[in-house]
């Protein structure tokens, strides 16, 4: 059931090359909202950001400020960044 759902939900990272932006959809059951907020804040330096939080999903829109940033990997980098943030928050006393 879960596997089909993940496929049905479609891509968790949607790349819009025309508008030069990436939409990342995160599941709050797996990704801590505080870590997502902190990550968005960190990405503000290199991207224009937009954060929308609902009950069952967190949507982040990232639009790179520089052309040097690869839009194809930006969303996945963000996913990894959030996981890293969660790890560092976990080990903080």
């Amino acid at each position: 059931m879960g596997r089909k759902n993940m496929a049905k939900e479609g891509k968790k990272v949607r790349i819009d090359g025309v508008k030069n932006r990436v939409t990342v959809i995160l599941d709050p059951k797996f990704y801590n909202s505080e870590s997502v907020n902190l990550s968005v804040n960190d990405f503000k330096d290199c991207c224009l950001t937009k954060l929308k939080s609902e009950n069952d999903k967190i949507t982040v829109v990232l639009s790179p400020k520089s052309k040097e940033i690869d839009i194809n990997t930006l969303g996945y980098e963000f996913y990894n960044y959030v996981l890293n943030k969660m790890r560092s928050n976990e080990s903080r006393f």
Binding site: M1, G2, R3, N5, M6, E9, K12, V13, D27, K29, F30, Y31, T73, Y76, E77, Y79, N80, L83, N84, M86, R87
Partner: protein, 146 residues
């Protein structure tokens, strides 16, 4: 095109060669969410990871290699990491009391004796070490004046 790897009856890896990613399905009754996080952290420098599914029924991990790593190898390595951390967590839980006892012993070594265990009454001081310096000098001066 999506295909299943290998011919094992407990296969949990689904490979999508066109999209260059793989999907690992995990039973949360066998590997808890904590173990999944740890295993994902290990592979994060080599692959992009996305967690999804249902934490109660089936956890799904999507892995996209950053370089030209073989998808099936990556999936197998992820499975190994899951097992690695499952064993670690189990051993850690087993040794928890022992670790706590050792840590408590270490911290207790430098603590002052607990209340009630302190010696009662005056302490024997034949050489007058506990007497303050000022008192000693005043006593000497007073004796001289007498």
């Amino acid at each position: 095109m999506t295909k299943k790897s290998g011919g094992s009856s407990i296969d949990n890896i689904e490979i999508n060669e066109e999209g260059n990613y793989l999907l690992v399905s995990i039973n949360p009754k066998i590997y808890g969410l904590d173990i999944v996080y740890y295993a994902t952290y290990v592979l994060m420098d080599r692959a992009y990871a996305i967690l999804g599914g249902d934490p109660e029924r089936e956890i799904l991990v999507e892995l996209r290699p950053k370089d030209n790593t073989d998808l099936e190898t990556l999936g197998m390595e992820f499975n190994n990491e899951l097992l690695n951390y499952a064993v670690y967590m189990k051993q850690s839980a087993k040794n928890q009391k022992l670790r706590e006892a050792i840590l408590q012993r270490v911290l207790m070594t430098n603590l002052a004796p607990a209340e009630g265990k302190e010696p009662k009454g005056p302490i024997e001081d034949p050489e007058g070490i506990t007497t303050p310096w000022e008192e000693k000098t005043w006593q000497k001066k007073e004796k001289k004046l007498e």
